[in-house]
């Protein structure tokens, strides 16, 4: 699947950049250092927008394209930021047949974002995930670490309200 590239403005801070550069300094001479650097960058910023990939490219003296190619190959890297609250809807087989797609559609309707997108205020992001092992509670969604199961479409409204 093609990754969604966020069009939200980049809000990185100089402190975040300093943290990333410090990490790079400690590892830059190691062969194969790019992957751990990208993982660290994602843990600092939550995602890998152009501005972050440019920092990595500049520090390692490689082109942004070299970083970007890897960021689009591995599922673990995101090009769109996560919100303060990340809503993850399970689209595994059990959840799907129990109507999980309707949950996704309802969230999109309320928040105006599709999967792999983040609201402009940075509060909510949405992702579709694979089985989280709670098939007995299907359909299931999580908001950060909170799990909600046996849902129907209209339950979504109350869940989102709790976090607004």
């Amino acid at each position: 699947m093609l990754k969604k590239i966020s069009s939200l403005p980049f809000n990185g801070t100089p402190e975040q950049e300093a943290q990333l550069v410090k990490f790079i300094d400690g590892i830059r001479t190691q062969q194969g250092c790019l992957m751990p650097i990208m993982q660290e960058a994602q843990s600092i910023y939550g995602y890998l927008p152009l501005e972050v990939q440019q920092i990595i490219a500049r520090e390692l003296e490689i082109s942004v394209e070299e970083v970007y190619g890897i960021s689009t190959f591995y599922a673990q890297f995101a090009l769109s930021p996560k919100g303060k609250y990340n809503i993850s809807v399970c689209l595994g087989t059990a959840c799907y047949v129990k109507g999980a797609q309707a949950l996704v559609d309802r969230i999109t309707q309320i928040l105006g974002i599709g999967p792999d997108e983040c609201t402009a205020d940075g509060m909510f992001s949405l992702e579709a995930c694979r089985c989280i092992g709670a098939c007995g509670l299907a359909p299931v969604l999580t908001v950060n670490d909170d799990v909600y199961g046996r849902l129907v479409e209209k339950d979504v409204d109350d869940i989102i309200k709790k976090y607004q």
Binding site: L2, I5, A57, I62
Partner: protein
């Protein structure tokens, strides 16, 4: 290196132990087909076209990356191998835009050739969904059509040593060659060198074709159409017509251009001599008056674009001389126009170049000496061949003809501009004579010749020690520039060309298969054609070109004059907004 004994198709063979199966098979007279393989540059075993059967191996192996070993028994054309290769091509074709009849690479496409050779009967036998793509037409010099891309990554490998702005993005069926964050080529730090086009096995990458513009001008009775030809074109154009690599076809090329209908056929070499006059003067001026050193040549627009993007702090080191193409264009629309009583607006000035970056260069700022663009169109060696073929001109049967005068006069110094080290040598020939005030007989500066990426030499001229460096290809330019910036090297004069090997290997030159590149030293043969011509010429120093003397007497007064600056020089600016 010791040898190992192997068997290929039942024949015993002794081959160096560090050979791959692909190289070993060549010794047996078998050229195993490849698509992704580029010797020394892209050895990734990805395309699976080169598979062969090796006894006791679990499956077919990729000959391009599999080293030979003692006792290895190889079959290169067993039914299993043939079946596998054919199916691989059929699968590639299932996701390929098979518009072969209209494709610019028809007849010179490695995928087409393999489909024919393997006997593919139904190119659509595996048809299904195709990967979606949009043509990238953003760049002045090239068009990328991923519907014809086979993901071999040869372009990526070619770009890696340039500016590495393209790569493989996404994964699986969505995999596509492109730039970061889906940007157009024009938004990233591409230098328009066109090296990617030269290695593309299919029609996925092609130069922007300007031949129709040129045909239209020729057929416009109100236009006086003038063409100039760069030195490196004559060393390669013959290849498009099946002539041996390294054949100098200057005379036939001139004849063909006349038959195409150009009003005047001139030689860029004249402007190369002019460049030397201006650049040597600029160099001596900077040395004597404490100007910015090292002085760096400015003939290669790929290099200029690289400098402006990656070394904006070194723009002052660039020679302010326009490239020979642009100087020639400027002379045509000023001196030549005045002398012949032609309004510059009625002149259509064309160049044929080994270069794709020239397409970018003609639209640069500060390249309009007569108030109109110095050049109206530029075509590559390949496009010229296309025009000649379209006009059904029988190139190989043409007589050798001479350039038109007066702007066809040239020297050996100008001819070697087409190869890495040539501009430096030409400049040295003139600078040494100027400094010593003599007509020196030792004017072959062989230290700066050859196809190595970086060359250095030190010359003592009349008590003045001059350290020079020559680099070709962006990665080598970087090495030299970093050494200057770090203070490791103290050069006075540097020649840089954007393409590896210089213009003879420009992005607009005839395309060859990778098996030809692996077995023939194409760059060296083209370079030899130019050095041979230099050797054969009566005048081999730019300042001895009689037309150069005339044009300074009649028009520019002296090198570096106010008028020369206005017409023959240009300016540069940092390009910091592209993504590197």
């Amino acid at each position: 290196m010791e040898n190992v004994n192997i068997t290929i198709n039942g024949m015993p063979l002794s081959v160096p132990a560090n050979y791959t199966i692909l190289e070993a098979a060549r010794l047996a007279g078998i050229e195993i087909p490849t698509l992704c393989h580029m010797k020394g540059k892209n050895e990734i075993g990805a395309c699976r076209i080169c598979v062969v059967e090796v006894e006791r191996a679990r499956s077919l192996v990729a000959a391009c990356v599999m080293p030979v070993s003692e006792g290895m028994v190889i079959k290169t054309n067993s039914p299993k191998v043939m079946q596998s290769r054919k199916m691989t091509v059929e699968l590639l074709l299932s996701n390929h835009n098979r518009s072969c009849l209209q494709c610019v690479r028809s007849g010179n496409c490695e995928l087409q050739t393999l489909a024919y050779e393997f006997g593919v009967e139904d190119a659509g036998c595996f048809d299904g969904v195709k990967t979606e793509s949009v043509e990238d037409k953003s760049a002045a010099h090239l068009i990328r059509d991923n519907s014809k891309c086979i993901l071999c990554r040869r372009c990526v490998a070619a770009c890696k040593t340039q500016t590495a702005v393209i790569g493989a993005n996404n994964r699986g069926f969505d995999s596509a060659i492109g730039s970061c964050f889906n940007m157009d080529l024009n938004d990233v730090a591409c230098i328009s060198c066109g090296q990617c086009i030269n290695v593309c096995p299919t029609g996925a990458l092609r130069e922007r074709d300007d031949t129709q513009k040129v045909f239209d001008a020729i057929n416009d009775p109100t236009k006086h159409v003038v063409i100039q030809t760069a030195p490196a074109v004559r060393a390669a154009l013959g290849e498009e017509f099946g002539m041996e690599i390294g054949t100098n076809v200057e005379g036939k090329m001139v004849a063909a251009l006349r038959r195409l209908g150009f009003d005047k056929v001139f030689d860029t070499d004249f402007a190369a001599d002019l460049t030397i006059m201006e650049e040597a003067t600029e160099f001596l001026d900077r040395v004597q008056n404490g100007g910015t050193l090292p002085l760096i040549t400015s003939c290669s627009p790929g290099w200029i674009r690289y400098c402006e993007q990656f070394y904006p702090d070194m723009i002052d080191n660039l020679s302010s001389c326009k490239s020979p193409q642009q100087m020639f264009g400027a002379v045509i629309k000023t001196y030549y126009a005045e002398k012949n009583g032609i309004d510059p607006k009625d002149i259509f000035s064309v160049s044929v170049m080994p270069c794709t970056a020239k397409k970018y260069e003609i639209a640069r700022d500060d390249q309009s000496a007569a108030g109109v663009p110095d050049l109206d169109a530029t075509i590559t060696t390949r496009e010229l061949a296309r025009m000649i073929k379209k006009a059904r001109i029988q190139f190989t049967k043409l007589p050798d003809e001479e350039y038109d005068n007066p702007l066809g006069a040239d020297t050996g110094a100008a001819v070697i501009f087409g190869v890495t080290g040539g501009v430096m040598e030409a400049a040295l020939r003139t600078a040494v004579d100027t400094l010593t005030g003599k007509d020196n007989e030792n004017y072959e500066f062989t230290e700066v010749r050859g196809l190595e990426g970086v060359k250095e030499a030190t010359y003592n001229v009349n008590g003045l020690e001059v350290n020079v460096a020559v680099a070709s290809g962006a990665d080598n330019a970087k090495k030299v520039l970093d050494a200057v910036k770090n203070g490791e090297k103290n050069y006075h004069f540097i020649e840089i060309m954007g393409c590896p090997g210089g213009c003879i290997n420009g992005g607009g030159q005839p395309i060859h298969t990778q098996s030809e590149w692996a077995t023939i030293d194409i760059k060296a043969l083209r370079a030899k054609a130019l050095y041979d011509q230099d050797k054969s010429m009566a005048i081999r120093k730019s300042h001895k070109n009689p037309m150069i003397k005339t044009i300074y007497d009649e028009y520019f007064e002296k090198p570096g004059s106010h008028k020369a600056h206005k017409i023959l020089h240009t300016s540069y600016k940092a390009q910091t907004n592209t993504i590197k």
